[in-house]
């Protein structure tokens, strides 16, 4: 817990009323360790530590337990700022259908999240259609079909070369997991996006992702019009630093969070909550 670590650091400082710049460096080492352990990317940690240093010096942090709290607050505010201080909702197309394409690395949670989003939209009175174009993974189409059956929603199987967009006011397209360095697969998803003119292209990222998440997200963003991030498996209690790094490096806003395996386990993103988790 950053709060406790800082309190211990501040407790060892010599009894001055104000913390010196040298003392502050001790505290900043704690901040660096906490952020790296939270999977925040190396570059973003550097940026954040520099920002916190600047603001802590500006604020003249006091020596003592309240000084530790002061530094935590400075870090917390810097995190919230970086995450984007408001929730970002899913867009609707001006002319139907709204098309949402789900993309991401293997196993991140795309198929499950596709069904969860369909569930949310249906509860809002909309008519979602689920389409799977995952012709790669064994039984991938069976998986989405089974989820659609659970929800009583239609699921269509299609080839990535011809994605049907009829049957409802919102089409959610589940694509195969892929590596950002797999040229053929990246070309495939580019053509899916080109053919479907999506309103949203959501990058689904595993909350447990480490330092590589930023590189993968940047590569996806460079080739696709990514409009939002879904952070899945937030119930793993992983600190989720990858989401912050992705936001900082690519500007992609976190829109949704997957919080469990059940189809109602999805929440709108809250920057404050995520900042709390990253802080530990």
């Amino acid at each position: 817990q950053l709060q406790d670590r800082l309190a211990a650091t501040f407790a060892t400082l010599q009894g001055r009323p104000r913390v010196t710049e040298a003392d502050l460096e001790e505290a900043l080492r704690d901040v660096r360790v906490a952020l790296l352990e939270a999977d925040v990317s190396f570059k973003v940690v550097k940026q954040l530590v520099a920002t916190v240093r600047e603001r802590a010096i500006g604020q003249q942090v006091v020596q003592s337990v309240s000084g530790a709290q002061q530094v935590v607050k400075i870090v917390h505010d810097a995190l919230v700022e970086m995450l984007g201080s408001e929730a970002s909702p899913l867009e609707r197309a001006t002319t139907a259908p709204t098309v949402i394409v789900m993309v991401g690395l293997q196993g991140s949670g795309k198929t499950t999240t596709s069904a969860k989003i369909a569930n949310v939209l249906r509860k809002q009175g909309r008519k979602p259609v689920l389409v799977t174009v995952d012709v790669h993974r064994p039984a991938a189409m069976d998986q989405l079909e089974a989820l659609g059956k659970q929800l009583g929603l239609p699921v269509r199987r299609a080839d990535p070369k011809s994605v049907p967009l009829d049957g409802g006011d919102t089409v959610i397209v589940d694509t195969a997991g892929r590596l950002h360095i797999d040229e053929a697969m990246m070309a495939e998803v580019e053509s899916i996006v080109a053919a479907t003119h999506p309103t949203e292209v959501l990058l689904v990222v595993d909350a447990m992702a480490g330092q590589d998440a930023v590189d993968a997200a940047s590569a996806f963003k460079a080739r696709l019009p990514i409009t939002g991030l879904v952070l899945a498996k937030v119930d793993s209690d992983a600190r989720g630093g990858a989401s912050l790094s992705i936001r900082a490096a690519t500007g992609i806003p976190v829109k949704l969070m997957g919080t469990g395996e059940k189809l109602d386990a999805i929440e709108v993103f809250h920057p404050d909550r995520l900042a709390q988790r990253i802080l530990g």
Binding site: H136, G210, D212, A216
Partner: protein, 275 residues
Amino acid sequence: KPEEEPVTDEWLDRLEEALLRADLSVSLVDPVMLQVRDVVREGRAKTVPKVLDAVRDALVAVIPPAAEAPAGTPRVILVVGVNGSGKTTFAAKLAKRLRDGGEKPLLAAADTFRAAAIEQLESWAQRLQLPVVSGRPGGDPAAVVFDAIQAARSRGNSVVIADTAGRLHTKGYLMDELEKIVRVAGRAREGAPDEVLLVLDGTQGQNAILQAREFTKAAKVTGLVVTKLDGTAKGGAVFAIANDLGLPVRWLGVGEKAEDLVPMDARAYVTAMLP
């Protein structure tokens, strides 16, 4: 000449960055960098290749060698891990590898929870022409493992590879279920399971360490598998796990095809992490 490239402060920063970006824990990187800086400052190592060798040796030493544990017949391997890490694919790959090596593996589709999980393993089994025992969706996963071990006995299979449902280490009831699967395997055959392989997604960060701890408590994990190393992630989280729990890394998943499985090679693994 490359073997004489001198170590600079800037290169040391690049080394630290490479290690952290490989998902090596800061609790391991900081002491390694401290030692490296001492060694360089005292003139005991002046060139890049010398420092890289020292770092590589230090990290390779952290990974315990895999010991071949004695096993009963049929041998029983349980595949466990968090959601989406690559268990089902690994189970199929391992079965193919063992069959190609002359064994008679039997797959057990003990993920009775997730949508189309049984279909997924059955599809692999069919593709690879391997036998599989399945339960029905919603059934007791421990019963599937029990049945598979009995079936292996009567059919003469030398090894059972049981795929289980993805589960988060934060869910107590799922870790309890896993504990029960292990107990029931032991009832089907004394001493089973012989191996409990924790499948870790190579793209994961520090959370992998918490996973390893909880899974080891619940299921006495005997070894690790790191998947998705054909991407750009380096799987550095295993070092803290090896350090804390002494778990060896047995296999590496390097792609989505049945043949994309290689045995762990610690020197190659570490070299891939270095600048």
